[in-house]
């Protein structure tokens, strides 16, 4: 996980993928972010960094389909 911590859990910054619908959903995501990591070309998704305390508020927004941690995966191990 690319989380980073400020030392104060309220301000812990996490990297999330946000699926949105419509312009308002996108704006809600970008407005609460501290950094925009990626705006997808064709998909209604943004990867952003947000304070953890904003997660629930963002997820409850009617223009947001989901908020999920931008975890890591890779070549499977044997």
């Amino acid at each position: 996980m690319p989380d980073s911590t400020t030392g104060d859990s309220e301000w812990e910054v996490v990297e999330v993928n946000v699926g949105f619908q419509g312009k308002e959903g996108r704006e809600a995501a970008v407005d609460c972010s501290v950094a925009v990591v990626r705006e997808f070309e064709s998909l209604d998704i943004v990867t952003i960094q947000i304070p953890r305390e904003k997660w629930s508020e963002l997820a409850d927004h009617p223009g947001i389909r989901y908020v999920e941690a931008n975890g890591q995966t890779g070549a499977p191990d044997t």
């Binding site: 998909l43 070549a75 044997t78």
Partner: protein, 385 residues
């Protein structure tokens, strides 16, 4: 990562052999006695040097038309005089080089891709994206097939390794690329397809890891380019809605997506993501005895099996043998490339691959429809099994 089996290296495969003798009855230079006849190439500076070489020769093997070299047979003791002649640039033994042999990995024969090749099926015209750690941009077994690439993570290793942002700083992607589409060129290995256009979409870093966002962006990119096949030898036990959205978008836009089932075996109902998504064809792994590879994940999402144990293929700078469902996956990608080169849609290719699979006696959750049969999928006689 995958494990390496026999450690065969490029150094073993690509080496040239020198010092052999061209003609029976002619001694090797090092072992020759002073009066033995040896065959040498003599580079000369002037007509006087050429004359000296010809005068020393018992036979003139070749007098080059445009370069100042003659190949002669002479005694070993005469060489010393030639070497000291100021009009001679060099004297060297006329050693031999051999054609570089091409190995047909066992998996290629087992899925009857060799039958497809003999019938002229090469995948030419298809575009296969390897969504992985990148592809070695100057590998002699891949370079002729490489199209454009794209990097969503950085290549690390300096300008020699990372000539392009999508170059491979790990090995994994180049190995998968060779399985899917190595060139049929009398060296190294041969792929399931041999003339499809291969695209590196680098979403995994030097350690073989990438974020869901990186991988989803890679899948989206493949779709936006209009490429035919996306091969994902990657995954994990946790899913991501972002990656699923990207897979859905790609399939809706005509991309055939295939992914490794995972290497968590022996286990049940343990197919990883993105292989477990309905949009993606999940591939399990078999060994050369048609048994399920011990490491292969299984589950109801598995649709097809392909060779994955001890697979010899390309890596940056050479060749190596890896095992994993990561190796099974690009066998299917190469087959889909063949079908889509011939006009199949992504969904038609998926159906055809399943309908023509060979029953090898494994359970449904182990091999799905069975073992990949490239020849049968192309409508060719694969009765040699």
């Amino acid at each position: 990562m995958v494990r390496k089996a026999n450690g065969v290296s490029r150094r073993n495969v690509l080496k040239l052999t020198g010092g052999s003798l061209a003609v029976t009855g002619v001694a090797g230079l090092a072992a020759a006695a002073p009066d033995d006849t040896v065959e040498v190439n003599v580079g000369f500076k002037s007509d006087r040097g050429r004359s000296a070489a010809l005068s020393a020769a018992s036979d003139v093997v070749r007098d080059f038309n445009s370069i100042d070299v003659v190949t002669i047979r002479t005694t070993k003791k005469a060489i010393f005089g030639l070497e000291n002649n100021p009009n001679v640039r060099y004297v060297e033994e006329n050693g031999m080089m051999h054609a570089l042999a091409e190995t047909e990995p066992w998996g290629i024969e087992r899925v009857d891709a060799d039958v497809a090749h003999r019938n002229g099926e090469t995948g030419a015209g298809a575009h296969i994206a390897i969504i992985d750690t990148g592809i070695d941009s100057d590998h002699p077994d891949l370079q002729a097939n490489l199209g454009s690439g794209k990097a969503f993570v950085s290549c690390k290793g300096g300008p020699k390794k990372c000539r392009y942002a999508w170059d491979d700083d790990n090995d994994h992607g180049t190995h998968c690329g060779g399985i899917a589409d190595a060139v049929d060129n009398n060296q190294g290995v041969i792929g399931v397809s041999t003339e499809a256009t291969l695209h590196a979409v680098k979403v995994l870093d030097k350690r073989g890891s990438g974020t869901y966002s990186d991988i989803a962006a890679g899948v989206e990119y493949v779709a936006d380019q209009g490429w035919d096949v996306g091969s994902m030898s990657l995954g994990g036990s946790s899913g991501s809605q972002t990656l699923k959205d990207a897979c859905q978008y790609a399939v809706n836009n005509g991309v055939f997506l295939v992914a490794a089932a995972g290497n968590d075996g022996p286990c049940s109902d343990c197919v990883g993501y993105p292989a477990a998504y309905s949009e993606v064809m999940a591939v399990s792994s078999t060994n050369s005895s048609d048994n399920l590879s011990g490491f292969s994940s299984t589950g109801p999402e598995v649709e097809i099996a392909a060779p994955g144990t001890d697979i010899y293929s390309s890596i940056p700078g050479g060749y190596d043998t890896f095992s994993g469902t990561s190796m099974a996956c690009p066998h299917v990608a190469g087959a889909a490339g063949q079908l889509m080169a011939n006009g199949s849609s992504n969904t038609q290719a998926r159906d055809t691959i399943k309908q023509t699979a060979e029953n090898i006696g494994l359970a449904d959750n182990e091999s799905g429809a069975g073992l990949l049969d490239v020849a049968a999928a192309l409508g060719l006689d694969s009765s040699d099994n």
